[in-house]
């Protein structure tokens, strides 16, 4: 996996990453609005399992970290731990306006966000809350970044 080539094995891995993204959902002090919209994506109406996406209980088994909420002081450490527990390749999707800008909570002393001050963010899905379509679009974009991941010979990121 260390050489970014075009071999059959590599294209198979790329295809597998595109078709099997497992989500971990982290609530960093969100009001639950975005969380409800995220869960909606799994219902029969939107059915993201068609794309091989499923909500995974353990961060160690996830590929995509979906964060909602402005990152409060109480959740920051847990967020960092969970981000560290997800094995590479991984992508982060910021769901809603809170992780992007802190939204109405901006300026509060209890808030340590926005999210990109704490962990690297790949895709922002703005909205308060965003519609399920937008979340699916954001996750699909994140999956493209996941599939394009190349391990460098030094073992670093991207």
């Amino acid at each position: 996996m260390s050489v970014p080539g075009k071999g059959i094995l590599f294209s198979l891995v790329e295809r597998a990453r595109r078709r099997s993204a497992w989500l971990f959902h982290f609530n960093a002090g969100a009001c639950n609005g975005c969380d409800i919209e995220l869960i909606t994506c799994l219902t029969p109406r939107y059915d993201v399992e068609q794309l091989g996406i499923k909500l995974e209980g353990s961060p160690r088994q996830a590929d995509v970290l979906c964060v909602s909420g402005p990152v409060t002081r109480a959740t920051r450490e847990a967020l960092e731990t969970i981000y560290g527990q997800i094995p590479f390749p991984k992508v982060v999707v910021a769901i809603g306006s809170c992780p992007a800008t802190c939204n109405v909570f901006a300026g509060s002393p209890m808030i340590e966000g926005p999210l990109d001050r704490i962990i690297p963010v790949d895709v922002y899905v703005p909205g308060c809350p965003p519609r399920p379509h937008q979340i699916i679009e954001g996750v699909a974009e994140a999956i493209e970044r996941l599939a394009a991941y190349r391990a460098t010979p030094a073992g670093g990121e991207r």
Binding site: A16, R19, E49, G52, S58, I86, P87
Partner: protein, 306 residues
Amino acid sequence: MNAWRALFALIVFPGLLYALPMGWFMLGAGRKLVARFQGRIGPPISQPFYDVVKLLAKQPVARVAAENRLLTSLPLLAVGALLGALALLPVFSGETGFVGDLVLLVGLLELPPLCMILAGYASRSIYGEVGATREATLSIASNIPFLAALVAMASAAGSLHLSQIVAATPWLVRIPALLTILLCLPVKLRTNPFSLSNAEQEILSGPLTEFDGRQLALWELVHGLEWVALTGFVATLAVPVRSAHSFLDFLGFVLISLALVLLLNLLAAATARLKLRQATRLLWRWASLLAAVALATALYLRHGGY
């Protein structure tokens, strides 16, 4: 059983070359079926294959306080045990197996749940421990009727040789014994009314919470092989006759296995997860009752009957 035949059973059919794609197919078909029953389109049938490829290409994360070699060897042991169990199944006619192969088969089928319990405790995660505790409690509750049903079949047939048990068990014993085993199947496969040990979301991923990348891919493999081995076991027990053409035997084996997959997934889609107390009570009450009926009939036929 000569060595070539044993090697063929282990590597080609019903061993590795058959069981690996079949396990992926059964898992994929299961997810698709549950999705269709719920009114969704669901993932493609090839989904478990892509899941495993993706997991194999993940980079491992260093873990604190857990013995990495142990965590890798447990799923490997489970894979080996399941392949051995598959190789012992008397699918074809003729003199297969040996006297006492039932005991070995049951032992090998019991190893994967044991590995999973150990993995749950060894991963040093509280979710893993809760999952392992539930798995252990359920496996006691399901194994007593399961083993009693097998003992009933063996004593009715008067043999511990699988191919003789399959051929000689009378239907009066075979039907309650098979019903008991069928009731124990969703427990052993951890599907829905009995999905307590891996209780998705409730206790994260149960015993496998701390497993990532390649080790998790091995566990996915174990799940697939468990489906093939347990449905295959029931398929071989259910049909007493073997035809002269091995192709027909093969076809019957595969069709009954797939019918069981359909049945189990229908049950999984139609039910919600039970509590531990409800599940154990159900098993101790009804599965044990069925097993007791099978045992009593077997003893009656042997000593007092015709």
